[in-house]
């Protein structure tokens, strides 16, 4: 269950990086790759295992001068956890 205090981190065996040739963040894993759109990339690059969900949401809202992102970010983090892109630390 994702809590505001959960600390998402990139899953074991996965690596997030910016690829100029694709003009996108990609998530690399054993023998595969997911090309991420802008918002997925922005969320995942903040998932460093140190910041909490609440901090990540606040940071995204500040960076994009908006509010009310919590539901979307939580839904994406849940989606990513299910695929092992992310793991949650407490």
């Amino acid at each position: 269950m994702i809590q505001p205090t959960s600390k998402p981190a990139i899953g074991r065996g996965f690596r997030l990086q910016w690829e100029p040739a694709q003009n996108a963040h990609v998530l690399l894993y054993p023998e595969g790759m997911v090309k991420l759109n802008g918002s997925a990339g922005e969320i995942l690059k903040r998932c460093d295992g140190a910041r909490t969900m609440a901090e990540i949401v606040a940071d995204l809202e500040a960076a994009f001068a908006t509010e009310g992102l919590e539901k979307d970010v939580s839904a994406f983090v849940a989606f990513a956890v299910e695929r092992r892109w992310l793991e949650l630390r407490q």
């Binding site: 065996g13 996108a24 690399l28 023998e31 595969g32 790759m33 090309k35 918002s39 839904a75 989606f79």
Partner: protein, 403 residues
């Protein structure tokens, strides 16, 4: 070890509140829109201590002895990375027979590749796995041939089961995700339950049950390796039951044998689309099995840059886009989905690489696939299996037969 299918650029996942719109980029439909060779597979050597009957390596591999030097491989890495290559497979043969794998991994890691080592496990020990980890290796895929020592050792024509089991523990111990690959065929597919139990005991994170694809040595042994439909269905049922019991702890990929399908696989996402193989002697291929295609002059990295090979060479442009297609592909609404299937399979079964993959039930050659399936249903055909093991002696014999 060269049994696995090395391409898995993920299809777009479902849209989640707009968070992920497009996971894989659009597939270039025309040669004009050539994307980067996202997947680079280096077949470092064709030498292999195993002699697997289903190997996709060319049957004339024994002729190919002039392997690239370390400096050549490092140059290939730099040039491909500059074009946008990002997934790197190190395969063979058995890549660990090369003593420079650690150097190659270190350079690849520094360049930003995600590095995958595809190995039989032979040659992997505590010293080398430490060095590989330090060099930045991301992932090791370990092959098994079956769940028991007897069958593993028979099918690979070696005594390697105990060694592989030790290597599995070593991989796990060094914190790598444990990815087991087992190629399935008539002689081991009934052991799927035992294979999955073995994987669970070893703490595997992923298991790839890859039904044999009939190229190279597997093509020569097709009569003996083709399972019956009932065998395939039982193996799928067993796999689904395992998934239900074990859940997410062990992820199982069951790669269905394409002969049993009605539509072809989108092989390599179309030749020249995302996939680049460099074979041991430097020959660049748009697919690791493509060396057999007739009338193709595949360029070599000793003489050409990766950029010119990928963008400009006739061989890499030959099957780009859909201009090369014949009917029924040319007017087929599914051509953008499966790219007409596999060129090598079209050539092997119909004699023309530009034909539709005969797996497709729209192909006028589908009867050739059905005939192979029908033969598998009649055990008298295979009651005395004559398996041709992948070794240098057999390679030279086959080369001489083929001229």
């Amino acid at each position: 070890m060269a049994g696995a299918s090395p391409v898995n650029i993920e299809a777009p996942p479902a849209d989640v509140d707009g968070a992920v719109s497009q996971a894989a980029g659009p597939i270039p439909g025309r040669a004009a829109a050539v994307g980067p060779p996202l997947w680079l597979l280096l077949e470092l050597t064709y030498r292999c201590p195993l002699h697997c009957v289903f190997c996709y390596n060319p049957t004339d591999f024994a002729r190919i002895t002039n392997e690239l030097s370390t400096a050549d491989w490092l140059r290939v890495l730099r040039e491909a990375r500059a074009l946008g290559s990002v997934q790197l497979g190190l395969s063979g043969g058995e890549p660990l027979l090369r003593e420079d794998v650690e150097l190659i991994v270190a350079e690849a890691h520094a360049l930003g590749f995600y590095t995958n080592l595809v190995t039989s496990g032979v040659g992997l020990n505590e010293t080398r796995i430490r060095a590989l980890k330090e060099a930045g290796l991301d992932h090791i895929q370990l092959s098994f041939q079956d769940s028991t020592r007897e069958m593993n050792d028979f099918l690979s024509s070696t005594r390697t089961f105990e060694l592989k089991s030790k290597v599995a523990a070593l991989i796990k111990g060094h914190g790598y995700p444990m990815v087991l690959n087992v190629v399935l065929h008539r002689l081991n597919i009934d052991h799927t339950a035992a294979i999955l139990d073995m994987a669970e005991r070893m703490g595997a994170d992923y298991v790839e049950l890859a039904n044999t694809q009939y190229y190279g040595w597997a093509w020569h042994n097709r009569e003996q390796l083709m399972p019956t439909r009932a065998q395939v269905e039982r193996a799928e049922a067993v796999t689904n039951a395992f998934r239900k019991r074990v859940g997410e702890r062990v992820r199982v990929y069951f790669v269905v044998p394409d002969y049993f399908e009605k539509r072809p696989k989108p092989c390599m996402n179309g030749l020249g689309s995302i996939f680049l193989t460099i074979s041991p002697d430097g020959t660049a291929l748009p697919c690791h099995a493509a060396r057999m295609l007739p009338g193709m002059h595949f360029p070599n990295v000793r003489h050409s840059s990766i950029a010119s090979i990928w963008r400009d060479s006739a061989a890499f442009n030959r099957f780009r886009g859909d201009g090369w297609m014949k009917e029924p592909c040319r007017s087929c609404p599914e051509k953008a989905k499966d790219f007409g299937g596999c060129r090598c399979q079209a050539f092997l079964l119909t004699g023309d690489a530009a034909n539709a993959d005969p797996v497709c039930d729209k192909s006028p050659h589908r009867h050739l696939v059905d005939a192979a399936l029908a033969r598998a249903e009649h055990p008298h055909v295979v009651e005395k299996p004559v398996l041709i093991f992948r070794d240098a002696r057999n390679s030279r014999t086959i080369s001489e037969c083929n001229g």
